[in-house]
């Protein structure tokens, strides 16, 4: 129990600090939503409109910062994240709720695929260390070192613009109405393929490397030798002994990376015009949309924290050594 309490307190404090920082950072930024809006519409919004916009966003009131901070917490507990400026007058919760599933869906699936495929490849490479399989490493390293946007743009150029195999942007055929029918779902899958592939390609190397190194380490453990001594089939030794143990750190890394899914995909969403929270946050930053920015930060923070907690426990549950004595 003490363990839970300690961990709990630790996470609560971390969450509090993160949320507080999330609150203050946007407010320390120069500029305000109105100026940002004007900038965005270079010349289209007449200067005369500025006072109206200040009034609209409620920026003409002067509330002391600490009061805002208290209000923020009060609202937070009510589940009220405020109203977005750039998407006025939508509540931030609604805006985020709209974007989040897309990010989580696409990036989540891509991350999962990347994890599984990378882990399997990594197992193979680690197991066959010293053979031609090793030469796969520099290749995957190359893809992980390439800037993501570069890869994405080239992919769009090659596969969408030139070859026309995949749509270049969007998350589904825009002429469809989102619904749970096959037409829509297949469209979502079709539109998600290219972004997902690029994510997988650029992230898989991490999993491959991590798994390979772990497999190499685990392979020299005595129990792997014992498994060989038992005359188990190669597959069984490789997967049930080497990979099964090597995967432990991978899995908790995976849990952590799930947390980063929520926030880590800004560039993908920009490049592929994919709707999602990363781009939402980017727009919020550009539009000085504090409430939205805070909302996104909050969601990301919570996701990462939750993933941290998850990672803490996933490991414990996967590894019987840390499980409760029977």
């Amino acid at each position: 129990m003490r363990f839970f309490v300690r961990r709990g307190i630790f996470y609560v404090i971390t969450a509090w600090a993160a949320v507080t920082i999330n609150f203050f950072i946007p407010r320390m930024m120069p500029g305000d939503p109105v100026k940002a809006l004007i900038a965005k519409n270079q010349g289209k919004i007449p200067t005369d409109a500025i006072p109206a916009l200040y009034a609209m966003f409620g920026l003409d009131e002067n509330v002391p910062l600490w009061q805002q901070y208290l209000d923020y917490w009060a609202n937070l507990f009510r589940g009220d994240l405020g109203i977005s400026f750039s998407l006025f007058p939508m509540p931030v919760t609604e805006v985020i709720a709209q974007a989040l599933p897309w990010t989580v869906g696409l990036v989540g699936i891509a991350t999962i695929i990347s994890f599984f495929v990378g882990t399997v490849i990594g197992t193979g490479i680690g197991w066959r260390r010293g053979t031609w399989a090793d030469s796969l490493l520099p290749i995957s390293t190359f893809f992980s070192a390439v800037p993501y946007f570069w890869l994405g743009l080239i992919a769009i150029f090659v596969f969408s613009v030139t070859l026309g195999w995949f749509p270049s942007s969007g998350s589904y055929d825009r002429s469809l109405i989102p619904s749970w029918d096959w037409e829509f779902i297949s469209s979502v899958i079709f539109y998600g393929t290219l972004p997902a592939l690029t994510i997988i390609i650029s992230s898989i190397s991490g999993w491959i490397l991590g798994m390979r190194n772990m497999v190499v380490t685990v392979s020299s453990e005595d129990y792997v030798t014992v498994a060989q001594a038992k005359g188990l089939s190669e597959r069984r030794v490789m997967f049930n002994y080497a990979a099964r143990n090597a995967v432990l750190p991978q899995v908790s890394s995976f849990a952590l990376s799930l947390g980063f899914i929520v926030g880590g995909t800004l560039i993908m969403e920009m490049v592929f015009t994919y709707q999602g929270i990363g781009f939402l946050l980017f727009n919020a930053v550009n539009a000085k949309d504090y409430p939205l920015m805070q909302g996104c930060f909050l969601v990301i923070t919570i996701a990462v924290l939750a993933a941290n907690i998850l990672a803490d426990f996933v490991y414990a549950f996967l590894d019987p050594r840390t499980r409760q004595e029977g």
Binding site: R2, F3, F4, F313, T322, R323, Q324, E325
Partner: protein, 371 residues
């Protein structure tokens, strides 16, 4: 032993107790690693601490070195309470009491050469030595642990040394402080026979020449007999028997000590064996009530299961914590364990098992044939 006149008591531990909190998911409680241990070290004498794995021997050493806080108890150095409360006092204390760690592979930093390790120890305890003085001190230290010629070893890295050599470097480091007390935690357990002997002889020499008080922790009861003046036997965090080494090893009183002695291989006496002893060391989180040895003790009675036996006088300078030596009417009848455990226990019928295995094979072959 050579010196018979009583020597001055240097370090005394009084009712030491160490409980470790258990960390882990969903677990809580404490490990009763050491409970109510009294121990006294005299100048120029060696006290051996024997006992099974996990019985708290290293913990006692660390407590005496004050590397971890006591849960309860008192450490007395030269008659004064020496429990340290600040870093300065600690550094003064380590100047008197030095420890040799159990594991020669882990206790020397692999990235520093021998010179560094020893120089640090010298500088800390003997002030700012430089140049010739430092070299001389280093040479003297290495020679003292028979790493000769010193020049050959002083610039080596730990990985370039054999286990025995490392262990000697660790001893040299401890000696750099010119300590009065040396806590040697299984200095030989990881070494092979021939190297063991070298180290034991070295420690023996130190004891005799420098009159250092030594706590010698070991599993190896024979080496305790060889080297130590007194021997204390630990079981599950408590001392269960003490006495001079010769009599403890030749005439063990406590059933556990008997078990220990009877279990040690001895090519000279192949018959005196405790066969078929079963059972495991008890959990230290929930130690058995009463005598902690009672679940495995062939003589245990109700008394042993309920009340903790005190250390009772069982001979000249000997004590054993066993109700069998008390004058309580309900005391158990303790004899030699050999008499109880001397026979090999009957095991399940091997033939049956073989037959079964063959049967499995047969069934299996049948399956294959039909497939």
């Amino acid at each position: 032993m050579s010196n018979t006149e009583p020597e001055r008591s240097v370090l005394r531990a009084e009712s030491l107790r160490k409980h470790f909190p258990v960390r882990g998911i969903g677990k809580h409680g404490v490990v009763h690693a050491v409970d109510d241990v009294d121990l006294e070290l005299h100048a120029g004498r060696v006290v051996a601490l024997v006992g099974e794995s996990g019985s708290g021997k290293s913990t006692i050493a660390r407590l005496l070195a004050q590397l971890m806080p006591l849960t309860e108890g008192r450490i007395v150095l030269d008659g004064e309470d020496a429990t340290v409360h600040n870093r300065r006092a600690f550094r003064r204390y380590v100047g008197r009491v030095q420890m040799i760690f159990q594991d020669p592979f882990g206790s020397i930093n692999p990235i520093h050469p021998v010179r560094y390790t020893l120089t640090r120890a010298l500088r800390i305890h003997r002030g700012r030595l430089r140049g010739q003085a430092l070299e001389a001190a280093l040479d003297e230290l290495l020679e003292r642990v028979q790493l000769t010629p010193p020049a050959r070893y002083v610039d080596k890295y730990p990985h370039e040394l054999s286990g025995g050599q490392r262990q000697r470097v660790a001893i040299a480091r401890a000696l750099a402080a010119n300590p009065d007390v040396l806590l040697a935690d299984e200095p030989i357990s990881m070494l092979d026979v021939s190297i063991r002997l070298g180290i034991l002889n070295l420690l023996k020499d130190l004891r005799d020449r420098l009159k250092i008080a030594i706590l010698y922790i070991t599993h190896d009861i024979a080496s305790a007999r060889y080297f130590a003046d007194r021997t204390a036997v630990m079981y599950a965090g408590r001392i269960v028997e003490t006495g001079d080494s010769e009599s403890v090893t030749q005439d063990p009183k406590h059933p556990y000590t008997q078990l220990l002695v009877r279990s040690a291989p001895d090519p000279d006496d192949l018959e005196a064996r405790a066969h078929g002893a079963r059972g495991e060391a008890p959990s230290l989180v929930n130690p058995p009530s009463g005598c902690r040895f009672n679940p495995r003790c062939p003589f245990a009675t109700e008394l042993c299961r309920t009340e903790v036996p005190p250390l009772l006088e069982v001979g000249e300078g000997r004590q054993a914590a066993c109700w069998g030596y008390s004058d309580r009417p309900d005391r158990p009848q303790v004899t030699d364990v050999i008499e109880v455990l001397g026979e090999r226990p009957a095991a399940p019928d091997a033939a049956a098992i073989v037959a079964h295995a063959a049967g499995v094979d047969a069934a299996h072959a049948g399956e294959e044939a039909s497939a």
